[in-house]
């Protein structure tokens, strides 16, 4: 770890997408006009695929090394070196980041390919690919950064691309507002993130190691666990809490999750890539990346796990009532991200990352599948106007079903492997209440996912005749991607089988060097109930099956009525769920409106008071007290521009002394002499 091997092709993994983005930004429009969309597609997809190839090469290269030496570094140039903060533009490849890189470039590459079909009709085709490439670049920067500031560059960069792609169809203000919302929510998290970095840097400076390079932090992190920041909280806790707040913004956890459902306003590939597979998992990645730091802060770990679990359940309860095909998936994403946070929160970093990976597969598959549906229906997203599509869109249906089974955690699909590992870890590390929340959420997941499957693919078609007429399976570029992702959703979990099935899991071993710091091991080593894992898996499956059954009864067989169920529950939970617990409204009333009022007040204040006060100060110095009459006048009239007016008025007064009367002038002369003499005489006596 001390002497990482320097490999200079890693940079191309990152830079290639950037070049693609630059190419398409600068020339894409012309190219598209002159040579057609093909040219754009070639560059747009080509760079990501090339990147993926390089990542694979790097992966293979890494595998050649002994596990403890699997660290590759590519140092480009000195970024800045100020006040002990010496940072490079450098990329850092270790088992964790290679996994993430492969996901980003691999799934990302697939989604790029899918987009060539999905976005084919869009006039701003080039722009889409440019942003998509830029996103890939930013995400890879985030993943591969060797220091936290560079990571933050990617961290905000993905936010920017998310903003731009959510508002891709910018002529509709709804989309752009959703983009703004996403960016601003992310900014709140980013704010916490940067403050955390300041604090971290300051803390490390105090112990004599001013650095923000991740591998160096790993070395000095133990020093922070005992260093107090505020009110008895250690620097590590303080920093990690803030970092986690940052992660909630990026990964749409409570309290900063509200942007993600709205983000579905973007094109579906965007939802798949950014708002499901990659960007939103950045928070999880960041915590896994900084496991040595988080492990120093048990309080933070608890908070992470709790928030994750609550979010998982909370989002699931919203998901069961949504009718927009993508919104259901959005809430499901939030929920699944909650699982991942529980994973890293309880110290099961590998499980968290594992779920991150499988989720990338099946959630991308789900989104792309829904995209295919939307594509087929000419933009329709409301599930109440779908139905019976399975025979019209067979590929879509089957892949969607596989992914649904995966997300529900049905063995042997990939989701089962990862999700069950997390649920089990929660219990295993002594958090039974977290386990129970996740357990319920798993049931709800099965319910809303199958509800979606049934509403979309089964029953009668409820759309317009015109839609029915145009129904068609997606083009090969799209369906091929679905198939690949479906396969991955099915088999992707094989790299890490549950312990009660297999004793050796290559994924865990591969990642182990990242999570092998003493403090991390101290957290993860709490395994008490080895033998119970299988039973707990069965318990989960039971509830999942119940959820499935309920969905089946309600939405396929229509034995149960959703309306009646909601009435049975007095409507309150249903209303709350349907309206997403009024969180948006809460933010609106509690934050947005007061702030807007405050800004208007500040604007008024600036225009009337500050300007007035500054002028007033000038006025009082110039005028003195004898102008009090005039002064009052102006105070009543408002303070604006008082100074100029009052000074001028003073001039006017003085002018009136100059009456033109010679007697008056002589008074001025002699009476002044008299006054002087009088004053002097009084002083004299």
């Amino acid at each position: 770890m001390n002497n990482p091997q320097t490999v200079d092709f890693i940079r191309w993994i990152v830079v290639l997408p950037l070049l693609g983005a630059a190419f398409n930004f600068l020339l894409g429009a012309t190219l598209q006009k002159k040579l057609g969309r093909f040219a754009v597609s070639i560059t747009g997809c080509g760079v990501v695929i090339a990147s993926f190839a390089l990542a694979v090469a790097a992966f293979l290269r890494m595998l050649e090394l002994v596990p403890s030496q699997r660290f590759l570094l590519d140092d480009l140039w000195r970024w800045f070196d100020i006040g002990g903060l010496r940072l490079d533009i450098a990329f850092w490849l270790d088992p964790l980041s290679i996994v993430m890189t492969l996901i980003v470039t691999g799934v990302g590459g697939l989604i790029h390919l899918y987009s060539t079909g999905y976005m084919h009709e869009d006039p701003s085709y080039w722009r889409f690919f440019a942003w998509l490439n830029l996103f890939t670049f930013a995400m890879l920067t985030l993943v591969l950064a060797d220091n936290l500031w560079l990571m933050f560059v990617g961290w905000e960069g993905v936010g920017l691309c998310s903003f731009a792609l959510i508002g891709f169809w910018y002529t509709d203000q709804v989309n752009t507002s959703a983009g703004n919302k996403a960016f601003i929510f992310n900014r709140v998290g980013d704010w916490a993130f940067v403050v955390a970095l300041y604090s971290l840097f300051s803390g490390l400076s105090k112990v004599g190691h001013p650095t923000l390079i991740i591998r160096e932090i790993a070395r000095y992190a133990p020093l922070l666990g005992t260093q107090h920041a505020y009110a008895g909280i250690s620097v590590a806790t303080f920093v990690t809490l803030l970092l986690f707040l940052g992660a909630t913004g990026k990964s749409a956890q409570i309290p900063l999750f509200a942007w993600l459902p709205d983000a579905m306003a973007g094109p579906t590939p965007v939802s798949a890539l950014i708002h499901a597979a990659t960007m939103v998992t950045a928070g999880v990645y960041m915590i896994a990346r900084l496991n040595f730091l988080f492990s120093m802060a048990p309080l933070t770990m608890l908070v992470v796990a709790t928030i994750g679990a609550v979010t998982a359940l909370f989002a699931a309860t919203i998901g069961i009532t949504q009718n927009d095909i993508k919104r259901v998936l959005a809430y499901s994403t939030i929920s699944q991200l909650g699982y991942m946070f529980v994973g890293v929160g309880v110290g099961a970093y590998t499980a968290g990352v594992f779920h991150l990976m499988t989720h990338a597969f099946f959630k991308a598959c789900l989104f792309l599948g829904s995209g295919s549906v939307i594509h087929a229906l000419g933009g329709e997203q409301d599930m109440r106007r779908m139905g019976g599509l399975w025979h019209k869109l067979p590929v879509t249906f089957w892949t969607f079903l596989v992914a649904t089974l995966a997300i529900c955690g049905i063995p042997p699909f990939a989701g089962f492997m990862s999700k069950d590992e997390i649920i089990w870890s929660a219990f295993d590390t002594g958090h039974p209440w977290i386990w129970s929340l996740l357990w319920i959420a798993a049931g709800l997941t099965a319910f809303y996912m199958f509800r979606q499957v049934y509403m979309t693919f089964f029953g009668e078609f409820r759309g317009t005749d015109e839609q029915a007429h145009h129904l068609h399976e997606a083009p090969p570029s799209m369906s091929a991607v679905l198939v690949v992702l479906g396969l991955l959703s099915f088999a992707g979990g094989a790299v890490m089988l549950p312990r009660f099935i297999a004793t050796f899991s290559p994924f865990e071993v591969f990642l182990a060097p990242v999570f092998d710091s003493p403090q991390t091991l101290a957290v993860t080593a709490q395994t008490h109930h080895q033998g119970l894992e299988g039973y707990f898996a069965a318990l989960s499956l039971l509830l999942v099956a119940a959820g499935w059954l309920l969905a089946d009864l309600t939405y396929r067989r229509k034995i149960l009525s959703a309306d009646r169920m909601s009435r049975f529950l007095a409507g309150v939970p249903y209303t709350l769920s349907f309206h997403k617990y009024y969180v948006d409204e809460l933010y609106d009333y509690a934050v947005v409106r007061p702030y807007m009022m405050a800004t208007r007040a500040a604007g008024w204040f600036d225009l009337h008071i500050i300007d007035g006060l500054v002028n007033l100060a000038a006025a009082t110095t110039v005028l003195g007290s004898w102008l009090s009459g005039l002064f009052d006048n102006y105070v009543v009239d408002g303070l604006v521009n008082l100074a100029a007016d009052a000074t001028l008025a003073a001039g006017g007064r003085l002018r009136r002394l100059q009456t033109g009367s010679i007697n008056g002038y002589l008074y001025g002369l002699l009476a002044a002499v008299m006054v002087i003499l009088l004053v002097r005489a009084v002083l004299h006596t």
Binding site: S661, N663, L666
Partner: protein, 105 residues
């Protein structure tokens, strides 16, 4: 000159000075104001001559000479002053100074 002191003359000068001062302040007639100025000049002259008289050899004639120059300049000023007053009178048909207030502010 028993009993007669410098202060007698100075106080007389002061009284004339004050009457002159009052005159210039209160009069509205330009010539009236000029008359007041003459009173002030005479008041000063009394002082000069008195100091000259009481001032011993060194100051013997300085005061008187000064007074002569004051009279001389008073004459010059009166000439110009009256010329201006007449010119004003020609223009305005009055020498009341309240009529000469077009310049003000």
């Amino acid at each position: 000159m028993a009993g007669l002191t410098l202060n007698h003359f100075l106080v007389l000068g002061l009284i004339l000075f004050l009457l002159g001062g009052y005159c210039v302040l209160a009069r509205r007639n330009a010539i009236g104001i000029l008359l007041g100025i003459e009173l002030i000049l005479n008041a000063a002259n009394i002082n000069y001559v008195a100091f000259s008289f009481y001032g011993g050899q060194a100051a013997k004639y300085d005061g008187q000479v000064f007074a002569i120059f004051v009279i001389m300049l008073a004459a010059a000023e009166a000439v110009i002053g009256l010329a201006i007053v007449l010119a004003i009178y020609q223009n305005l048909r009055t020498i009341d100074v309240s009529a000469t207030e077009s310049l003000s502010g």
